[in-house]
């Protein structure tokens, strides 16, 4: 009887302790074009801080799309370029590895036009976002403008001297 009770107790102990010792990794994913944001944490909400991350595109298990590290909060992001099943590997380098598969649907890219459009609108005042020909003309206008002003000033000085 005592042996049975001890075995039951040991079984319950192991059953209760297993998730804590194994540190099962959980993933939370937010898809917001153009980026997919992933938060990796141990079960119990502790984040996988600075874990090594590898992202693999659909049908390419051996060629990483992105390698990097999660931040302190266990978060990282990647920018997929095609729909399909993207695989994410995380490794906290303390013996805890996990992988998850994220499905990127066609509809994820539906917001492409809207997102790009709003991005241009936000930075419309920045010269760097203007077409190359406008920037070239802008630079040439400055050069010829400064040249004209300098020439005019020197001509005026010459007239005064003359």
């Amino acid at each position: 009887m005592l042996k049975q009770i001890m075995l039951c107790g040991l079984g319950l102990f192991l059953a209760g302790a297993e998730p804590v010792q194994a540190h099962q990794v959980t993933f939370k994913t937010v898809q917001n074009y153009p980026a997919v944001i992933v938060r990796a944490g141990y079960e119990g909400a502790e984040p996988l801080s600075w874990a090594a991350v590898s992202v693999f595109p659909p049908d390419q298990e051996h060629s990483a799309w992105q390698n990097g590290r999660a931040d302190k909060a266990g978060q990282f992001a990647f920018v997929p370029n095609a729909p399909g099943f993207w695989t994410v590997h995380v490794d906290d380098e303390m013996g805890h590895k996990a992988k998850t598969v994220i499905e990127i649907a066609e509809s994820f890219f539906d917001n492409r036009e809207r997102s790009i459009g709003s991005g241009e609108k936000d930075s419309a005042g920045s010269l760097g976002t203007q077409p190359l020909i406008f920037r070239l003309l802008f630079g040439l206008m400055i050069i010829f403008g400064v040249t004209g002003i300098a020439y005019g000033l020197m001509a005026r000085q010459s007239l005064k001297k003359g």
């Binding site: 050069i143 010829f144 040249t147 020197m154």
Partner: protein, 191 residues
């Protein structure tokens, strides 16, 4: 050839800006009225030249025209190169603002080297013009390679010199053609 910010150490960049200020003063003082249009046109050509790209050896190379600037403007090429690089940095993000002084000294040295060679009148013009164009690229490329090496990027950067040799050959042809054109159309632009 335009070095970006973050590659050369900040004190070196600041020292280069100080040297540039002195070089601009020395090369720009006593500028005559008739020099201004030449400086403006050459500045516009330099500013635009960096947009003319050629695919080569897996990378992209572009013109500099520093040799031609040295031939036409002589010592006054320096402030023009500085102004063109300043605008290229602001408008095209070619090179950084912090490294502007280093870039201007590299490319200004190319223009001055070309100018000194152009002044060797005992050599025929058909030899001086392409050689000046060649030097105008080779000197900045050599300086840049040394600066990268001293900044801890190893000697691998010297392999880039082989690419700039190709640019120098193209520039020597362009400089030779430009000098011949000016000699026929407006010879007084050439000193």
């Amino acid at each position: 050839m335009h070095i970006s910010d973050g590659i050369i150490q900040t004190p070196v960049c600041l020292a280069a800006h100080a040297v540039c200020a002195a070089a601009i003063y020395i090369s720009g003082r006593n500028t005559e009225q008739e020099d201004i249009p030449k400086m403006g046109m050459t500045g516009a050509a330099l500013f635009t030249a960096s947009l003319i790209h050629f695919p080569f050896a897996g990378t992209s190379i572009h013109l500099g025209l520093f040799g031609l600037a040295g031939i036409i403007l002589g010592r006054r090429a320096f402030p023009v190169i500085y102004a063109a690089l300043f605008l290229q940095s602001l408008i095209f993000q070619h090179g950084g603002l912090l490294t502007l002084g280093v870039n201007a000294l590299n490319m200004g040295a190319g223009a001055w080297g070309a100018w000194l060679l152009w002044r060797v009148k005992r050599l025929p013009e058909s030899l001086r013009a392409p050689s000046a164009g060649f030097l105008g690229i080779l000197i900045p490329a050599l300086l840049m390679a040394f600066e990268f090496n001293f900044s801890g990027y190893g000697k691998g950067i010297f392999y880039l010199l082989t690419i700039y040799l190709a640019v120098a050959v193209i520039e020597s042809g362009i400089t030779f053609s430009a000098v011949r054109f000016f000699r026929k159309v407006k010879a007084d632009i050439l000193p």
